[in-house]
Every structure is written in C-alpha cells, then in structure tokens.
Symmetry: C2
Subunit: 492 residues, 2 copies
C-alpha cells in the first residue's frame, strides 16, 4: 500500500541532524516571529486544499466534505497556537521579585519561562490524515512550543504526508524558518530508530493501544528516558437519564447513530456504549436508523481486519444479542449494533468494555439508578463520557458526574463525543488506557506544554534575560508577578 519508499538510515541521519541544528534557532526566535512561521503554514495549507484533498480521498477513502473540514480545522489549529504563542500564554512567565525579608531565608529575584524540549517525533494517525497527521495537533503544538518536528507518516496515507510536508516546508522556508523545522519519514524502522535517538527529546502518538504501548516502552526505557504522549484507545460510554428520555426521545436515537457511525466509526471518540433505562422504547428507532447507514470503505486493511476480529469476538459472546448484524465485506462496513444489560456487561467486562474501532456500539439497559452507577463505575480510563439529562435528572446526575470525572478527560452533556473542538479549554486525553500521560492533552492550546520545560533565572540582569521576563513587559503578555496576574511592567 505504501507508495513512498522507507526512509533509509542515511536519510534519517540527515533529518535528525537538520532537526537538531534547527532547534536552537527555532527556540530562540521571538514569539511573534515563530507565530508568523506557523501562520504561513496555515495559509499554505488552505491554499493547497484543492490539490491535497483528492490525494487524501484516494488514500483514506474518507469523504470530501469531511476532509475539507479537516484541512480547515488543521489550519485553524495552527493559527490558534500562533495566537496563544503571541499572547504569552504558551510561555507562562512567572516572576517573583526579590524579597530580602523572606523567612527562613531571603528570596532572590526568580523569573521562570517555558522553553522548548528540542526535536519532537510525531507518530501520525490513520483516521485523521490532516488533523492528527503531518499538519495535526502534535505538530502544531510542538512548533508553537519551539520544537522542530519529525513526523513518522502513517502508512495509510504516505503520499499525502509527503505532499502536506512539502507545502508546509516550502511555507516555512519562505517565511524564514530554519531548515530542519519539519520533516517526514516513512517506515517502522525509521520511526523506531528515531525514537531511540538522543537528539529526539519527546514523542507524540495517536493510534492503537498495542502500537502505542510498544513505542512507549522504547521511549521510557532509553538510557535517557523521554516523555512519550500516547493517545491510545477509548470506549466513550454515553448515559441516558430518564428525564432526557421523556423530553427528547428521537433526537437521542438519531444523534447516537450519527455519532457512532460517523466516518465509518473510525473516531477515537466514538460512543462505544449507550446506557439506557429499561423500557426506553428507543430500540426500534435506533435499529432503523442504523440499518439506513450506507456501508463505506474503511481506512485500510489493518483497521478493517481489526474491526472484523473485534466484531467476531462480540458475536460469539452469550453476553450480548445482535440487533443489527452489519456487513463487512469488501474492506467496507455498514453499521452493526448489540444489546445487553448492566449485570451482563459487568460480568463480561473484559470483552464488552474493550474498544471495537469501527461502526458498532452496544445498547446497555439499566434497571435502576444503582445499575446506572454500577455501569459508570465499571469502565476504565476513557477520552470522554456523555450524559443525556434534563432538569429532573439533577439528583441522579450529581451522583453520576463525579464517577465520570474520575474516568475521563471530557464530560459531554446533551451532545455527542465525536467532534473535538480546538480551543483554549479543550481536553483530549484521559486516564490509561485512553492516554499514556493523562496529565496532558493532545488537543487545545495547553497541548504545547508537553514539549516544554521550565527554566528559572535567578538574579539575572535584564539584558541577559529572555525578553518575556524583563522588567518592561514589551511583549504585553499576562505574567504572574509576586503571585498576581498582571500586564504591568515590574517596578512600575
């Protein structure tokens, strides 16, 4: 399937040497300068959409409208990171002025800023050929942090990866960014070799639990362990409370089917369970909607094989009943659907609470609130949990939400988890196995922190300080000074 030859060890050496050489230049660039380089890649991506999207359709089998949305999402994401960089939010300046009267010892002048870790290795995902690939969130956040990026392409869309890289590299060069700021490599060998290379200082990954854990093991067992941020698998349970069911029955049925079959179910935020009260009466409508979903090709053979294997495992369980059988012929898939109860879900948790990546989900019926809460307490770490509720459900929800908060990174109320907005407040990550490294996010402006470390300057003269830490706040950024957030100059 891979039309692009694997990167040779000699080529990889050139890529890593160039990234290492770019690191100090990129890291010491002024925020506005680095932001301009990033914006240049965003503009270039938008301008190249007409040539990139057809390539993406060919390699990923995804629909044009979805892919055009993904380009816009990716360029918007690059611009948001550029904004956050110029705002100063990504630098997190914190200043404590000297306090000769502090006890037990006088306090020196201390000024802290986040600096880039150095070259970052990004393992691209198959299911978002733009938004979680060469021009995706890991790349955007690492560039904003000031780190050169080496992307290990996903074999599902190698030619698109090269094409996107060419667009971005040209834009970066034209805008004045150093050579080596961005590169793409192909092949597992290149990815693994790069992950073990001392010049690579951190890595981001989006993909399967097995693949992510294998790479995690390499990263953390190096002689010099590096941070590895892996976004792995997620069940994304959705819970329907009684009040919501009374208010908006059919919206729930159609919304659920649209969400779990979106993009042929190939979303890490796909709702894998819908937990409903016994007697919900939605089954017929859900089944009808699922049967209407047109079959479509899946991303690639490996994903199709994984999906059919997962389905086969579910179909042989006595713990679930098939409501919609589905058709997985021809590397494609139509929607399938299963049904069970909370006690059977808990009894067969090892199989039923495992992610099955594709257009399938399980209706789970709860007899009472105890079963509802038992279902919420049964699943492990997940990216999201969704609740459909109404005012009359407040008491039940107040018990439910803390259980969900303990298990997920994002709680969705009266919506669906697919569709991850890129913004300041977004959290995309959750307790293991959703993520390795759940103290961070892979989407939203705080994602840059994964690739930064703090440096504190003690009693250092102004002309030797990074600009953002000087007395005069010439960049006009928000800084925490002596505990208070302010844009004022120091000593004014």
């Amino acid at each position: 399937m891979n039309d692009c030859p694997d990167t040779t060890p000699e080529q990889l050496e050139q890529v890593l040497a160039a990234a290492a050489a770019a690191a100090p230049v990129l890291g010491s660039a002024r925020p506005a300068e680095r932001a301009a380089w990033i914006r240049a890649t965003a503009d270039a991506l938008d301008a190249a959409a007409d040539s990139l999207v057809p390539l993406a359709i060919e390699e990923s089998a995804l629909a044009e409208a979805r892919l055009r949305g993904e380009v816009a999402r990716s360029s918007g994401q690059l611009r948001l990171f550029a904004d956050a960089l110029e705002d100063g939010a990504l630098l997190e300046p914190i200043i404590d002025t000297a306090d000769p009267d502090a006890t037990p010892i006088p306090r020196p002048d201390l000024r802290r800023v986040l600096v880039p870790l150095g070259p970052v290795l990004v393992f691209a995902a198959s299911n978002f050929p733009f938004a979680f690939s060469v021009c995706g969130g890991d790349t955007a956040s690492a560039l904003a942090a000031g780190c050169p990026v080496v992307v290990k392409s996903h074999p599902g869309h190698p030619r698109l990866s090269d094409a996107v890289a060419e667009v971005m590299v040209t834009a970066l060069r034209t805008a004045g960014a150093p050579d080596g700021t961005l590169a793409v490599v192909h092949g597992d060998r290149a990815g693994v070799d790069a992950l073990g290379d001392p010049r690579v200082r951190a890595s981001g990954f989006t993909g399967s639990v097995a693949g992510g854990l294998a790479l995690h093991e390499i990263a953390v067992n190096r002689p010099d362990p590096i941070p590895f941020y892996g976004e792995l698998g997620s069940l994304n349970p959705a819970f329907v409370l009684r009040g919501a069911l009374e208010e908006r029955r059919s919206g729930i049925a159609s919304g659920f089917v649209a969400s779990y079959t979106l993009g042929v179910g190939q979303f890490c935020t796909k709702p894998g369970l819908l937990v409903l009260p016994v007697g919900h009466g939605l089954e017929e409508e859900i089944v009808a909607a699922a049967e209407e979903v047109a079959p479509a090709r899946m991303l690639n053979d490996r994903i199709h094989e994984g999906y059919t294997a997962g389905l086969a495992k579910l179909r042989e369980r006595g713990s679930v009943e098939a409501l919609v059988t589905g058709d997985e012929s021809d590397r494609g898939a139509s929607a399938s659907l299963f049904k069970t109860t909370v006690p059977r879900l808990i009894e067969d948790a090892a199989v039923l609470l495992e992610e099955c990546f594709g257009p399938t989900s399980i209706l789970v019926e709860y007899a009472d609130d105890d079963e509802l809460h038992a279902a919420a307490a049964a699943f492990g770490g997940s990216l999201t949990a969704t609740v459909h509720g109404a005012d009359s459900d407040t008491d039940v929800a107040q018990r439910l939400l803390p259980l969900l908060q303990d298990r997920v990174g994002r709680v969705v109320w009266n919506g669906w988890p697919t569709g991850v907005a890129v913004s300041w407040a977004m959290q995309h990550g959750g307790p293991f196995p959703a993520t390795v490294g759940s103290v961070h996010t892979s989407v939203g402006t705080t994602a840059a922190r994964r690739f930064q470390r703090p440096v504190c300057y003690q009693d250092t003269p102004g002309d030797l300080l990074p600009e953002v830490l000087r007395d005069r706040n010439s960049l006009n950024v928000s800084r925490r000074v002596d505990g208070e957030i302010t844009r004022s100059d120091i000593g004014s």
Copy 2:
C-alpha cells in the same frame, strides 16, 4: 539503622485502601477547605519543632540551626501551596463559551479544570529530613492537588518520619480531613509493592540516579503506566567570567567554598565544578578556605561509602590534581578539592562530569572564551548552572547563557545554587539525568501539576459543574475566559 519495623503487606493493604477511600473526599473538597487542612499541618509542624528537631539531629547528624530552618521552610511551603490553591492558580480554570459561528464547526461551551490523579506515593530523601521527606515538597504539592499521600520513609530517619506523620495526621484529622489523607510506610518491599499497586496513580522521588531509575522502570512498565517524577543527580557547574573576577575576587572564593561544603556537601544543588579563567589567582584563597572547613559526620553509611568511592575514583585519575586531600575517616568528611583544565575535563568527561555527592568540587581552568563555551557545552542535564559576571562580561554571557538554558532548570547569576527558594517561579528540575520528567518541577507552586490532570466539561449545566467553572466566579479566582484572563463572571 532502621528502628521502625518494615511495613507488612497487610499493613500496606490498609494504608492503600484508606488512601483510595480518601481520594474522592479530598478531591471534591472545596479549595478553601482543603487549604485549611494543609495550613493545619503547617501550624502543627511549627508547634512540634522542639520535639521533632532533636530527633532529626539524632538520625541525620545535621546541625540544629539548619534543621530548624528546614522546618520553617517546610511549613512555609505548605502555606504557599494552600495560598495557591485558594487563589485558583492550582485549578487552572479555562473557559471557552459557546460559539455557534465558529468554523469549520460550531463550538460548544467548554470548561476545563485540573483534578487530582488519586493517591500519590512519595519516596523521601535522606538529605532533607523535613523539606524533601514526609512534610516536604512532594507531599505539600500532592495534598494541594487533592491527592492522598503515602510516603515511603527514608531509612536514614525512620523515627522522625513516624513522628512527623503523627503530627500531620493528627492535625489533618482534627481539621476534618478524611482518614487516609497521609500515611508513612517503611521498607523497600513496601515501597516497591505500593509502586506497583493500581491504587497508586503517580509517584515522586528524590535521591540517587541508580535508585531513581530502578523505581522509574517499575512505574512506567506497569500494565497501567503511571507518571514517575524523579529528581536524581546533578553536577551544578559554576562559571566565573573575567570581569567578575576583577570586581569581586575574594567573595567568589569564600562563597564557592561555603556552597560546596554546605551541609557536608550533601545538597543536590552543590556546585561540582568551578570553571575559572587561567591565571585567576584564587587558588590559594580557595584552598585555605576549604582547609578551614571542619569535618562533620555524613548522613548515613551508604552516602559515606558512595562519597569515598567517588573520591577514590577521582584520586586515581591522571586528569585531575588534588589541591585539598580531605579526610573521610569515621563516617565523616572534611572538604576536598581537585583541579584540572577544560581539555582534560572534556577528555575524561565520563568520570569528571559525574556527580560526587559530598564536600568535594573541581576547579577547571579555561584558557580562552572558546574553552569556556566548550566546558559549558560538555555537561549533561543539571538542576542548576551558576555564572559570576560583571557588566564587562555581557558579550561572553550572551553566548554562554543559551548553552546553559539548554542544559539546566535554573540559571543563577552572581549567587550560589545551594538554597532553593520556595515560590511561584522556582524551577527545581532539569534535563535528564537531573530529572526524569523535566517538563515539571518538584519545588514551587507549579509542582502540583505533576499530580493533576485536566477535565473538560462540555455544555454542562452550572449546578453540575465544579464551583470554579460556574458562570458566577464565586471563588473570585483568575480564569482564562475566551482567551483572556479575568476575574469577571461569565455573561456579565
């Protein structure tokens, strides 16, 4: 040496069960309530200093004034974390209000806050029986984050560990904190077993490179990997520029000797190298000052053995010349000192750039600025680097500081690295091997982030949101709302 029996597996089970039970109570407590519990431990520590300090002297052989300062530092640290918690800084609320016109898709209302990870296991250090032990920075930051803490005591001061825990546990209980908020366990077996237990969600460590890496390996290779924050070893080179030498010769000599011999050289921030221009003329004064330092007992046998082995290795190298021989009899140590040149330092880097924990250091002479910068580029990750400079050194310093920023977490100007202020801006951590996990700090208010993860609420009704995320900013905290930092209510 250990007067306290090892924690049995049955006792450990009780400790972990209590910690797990305390986690949701501690995590859902209002910031002001949790802050009050933390302040109660600070007050209790101060009140108990007269009984704790003699125990600390007995077990650690450290001096009374130093230990009293450490108690004050520890209680002050607890209070700073309580303040930061009430300020809202530790919760990091970020709110994006809904934007139906956002492209490519409408943006929902998103509200993000940091929540506790769950029970934290702290491995205490030997060299700070208060400040990096039961009542130390890892404990303070984890409690402020809302995590129950289990401390694996250091065998160098087990009785003090029990006594401090009793003071803190009594204060917590009296103040109304849940049982299981804090506990101490003894023995390597208990520490290793706890580190592998699924109820433990993160771990902090301060100690040797070998010990830290062994525990790191356990934490990251669990079936569910957890974050392990290890503060390991550090060289802390200090650089003297020519202008500084002209201005303040003798201050440099006495300051250097005081810093590297402070607490019998048993500081992770001890300056292990002093890099000076050839012809500096300070040797005589430094040697005289070092020879005047009274010998003192080291913390324990293991540290004394490690120190004498490190010294023996240095003494047999042809690459250094001994200036002060030192005396390591009787579990004690007087100051020792070596001397070399930059070319010899680089040639024998594997030995000379390794931390030797105790009252020894190496004078390194540079012939010109190229050698100065070569020395700065030669060392690996370190907690600190120190520069002594004057106005006339600005050009040289402007080349030097970026090299140091790449290698350390704190740059000290015209001071000494020993003495780590506890404040908002402090950074205690640096690139490996100084730290495993250099994107974080173990001292300063941002240390709490190690034990928190973000959760985002999407379109969630106000009465189901954590208080700090509601429209009305009833806690009066700084929040980032639609990209801007403000204390205003939403929609006002």
